[in-house]
């Protein structure tokens, strides 16, 4: 779990994103319990209502579900669903800014592809 929050986006969204990252990375598995409102509130020193809102956003997306009196758990198929969603966002989030910067410093398409290939090969 990320150690601190930042200013980049609303806190409740950051809470939702970091739980989603945990699920995608497999650190919280399906049917496993996610941190509670109070745990998140204390860990990040945030208002419990904000933490609750972050978790609620994931309940609404059906990524996690509530079990009354017990806590919240990762839904079946959540990881797969999140990966599909992230793949859809990949162009906007990563490729578009990459191409913008490439254009700015006169790296043409061929050079960008070449760069990616060599880096991927050396991995």
């Amino acid at each position: 779990m990320k150690p601190t929050l930042d200013e980049s986006q609303p806190i409740f969204q950051q809470i939702a994103v970091l739980i989603m990252d945990e699920i995608i990375d497999g650190r919280i598995k399906e049917e496993e319990q996610v941190p509670s409102t109070n745990e998140l509130s204390r860990f990040y020193n945030i208002n419990p209502a904000t933490a609750r809102k972050g978790l609620q956003a994931l309940v609404d997306k059906e990524i996690i579900y509530k079990q009354r009196g017990v806590g919240m758990f990762v839904s079946k198929g959540a990881k797969e669903k999140l990966i599909i969603e992230r793949k859809e966002q990949f162009y906007e989030e990563y490729v578009a800014p990459l191409l913008k910067e490439a254009n700015r410093i006169h790296l043409d398409e061929q050079m960008v592809i070449e760069l990616i290939k060599t880096k991927m090969d050396s991995k």
Binding site: L5, E7, P10, S41, R42, Y44, N47, P48, A49, T50
Partner: protein, 291 residues
């Protein structure tokens, strides 16, 4: 829990608060921000029943707090330099708290004395600034009062002690959700803890909004000055500066997708202002900035 209607307080010609309105119905952690002389302290002392309103209605937990001992059992106001007896030690503060607040939590007080490493034998009048602030925090949090008002609760605390205070505040709120009103000049650090924020200016409420919405306020644009002038013609500019051919302005707008796309269409750089910077600029009366 708090209801203030058309309240006026101060001297007839120069009221500190005038036609002041504020309603809070739920337990909540609320930040209170205002420049020096805006009326923050006056508001807090009225809520705590230290003063009597000149005009208007002030209700706390359904009662008027002024000269009302039963109402004050459920109100705990910790002033910035809270008065303690000359010869008091930390135990006397606990005794005092227990005496005035029926819900006093002695166990929590003892835990905090340990956390803040306060000595039992030393007089509070001989405490350092940080130790004195810690004492005030202990009194405020352990009182368990339905309405707890803390004026600059982190004054003189180092980073470690501030973090311990935030932990203690959240723990105490979790155990017994109640209304905390926390006045601070250092809004950046306290803002994640607060659900809403009240900003006072010139004796009136300027903002009373969810913290989440407050955090989104203040758009900083930079780039070509003609472009900036073109896109900001209908916005209020609250700060502006230039370096070589680059112009930079802060707008009294929300950091929205609308502004992000305006910026990218006009080749301008966009950033969100920090809450502190936004508040400083938006409450500056001298700004009549031309872009």
């Amino acid at each position: 829990m708090i209801q203030i209607k058309n309240l006026t307080y101060g001297y007839q010609q120069t009221p500190v608060l005038s036609n002041f309105n504020l309603t809070e119905t739920e337990p909540n952690i609320i930040g209170l921000w205002g420049r020096n002389g805006s009326g923050k302290t006056t508001l807090m002392s009225l809520l705590a029943g230290h003063n009597k309103p000149l005009e208007g209605k002030l209700n706390v937990l359904g009662q008027e707090p002024y000269n009302n001992l039963t109402a004050l059992e459920n109100i705990c106001y910790i002033q910035e330099n809270h008065p303690f007896g000359q010869n008091w030690k930390i135990e006397d503060v606990c005794k005092f708290g227990r005496y005035f607040h029926p819900n006093w939590n002695q166990e929590f007080a003892e835990k905090l004395i340990d956390v803040f490493e306060l000595p039992f034998k030393k007089k509070i009048s001989k405490f350092s600034k940080g130790m004195k602030t810690a004492t005030q925090i202990i009194l405020g949090l352990s009182s368990n009062a339905q309405i707890t008002i803390l004026d600059e609760p982190t004054n003189g605390l180092d980073a470690v002690k501030r973090k311990q205070f935030y932990d203690a505040l959240l723990e105490s709120y979790e155990e017994n959700p109640r209304l905390f009103l926390i006045s601070t000049h250092h809004i950046e650090e306290i803002q994640p803890l607060c659900e809403s924020l009240i900003v006072i200016q010139d004796g009136k409420v300027l903002f009373h909004e969810q913290m989440e919405d407050m955090r989104e306020k203040g758009v900083i644009l930079s780039g070509n000055s003609e472009m900036i002038e073109k896109v900001t013609s209908s916005s209020r500019i609250i700060e502006s500066s230039s370096i070589s051919s680059t112009h930079k302005v802060m707008l009294d707008e929300s950091f929205s997708n609308k502004w992000k796309s305006i910026a990218s269409e006009h080749d301008l750089t966009i950033e969100k202002a920090s809450l502190q910077d936004y508040l400083i600029n938006v409450t500056d009366r001298k700004i009549e900035v031309k872009s």
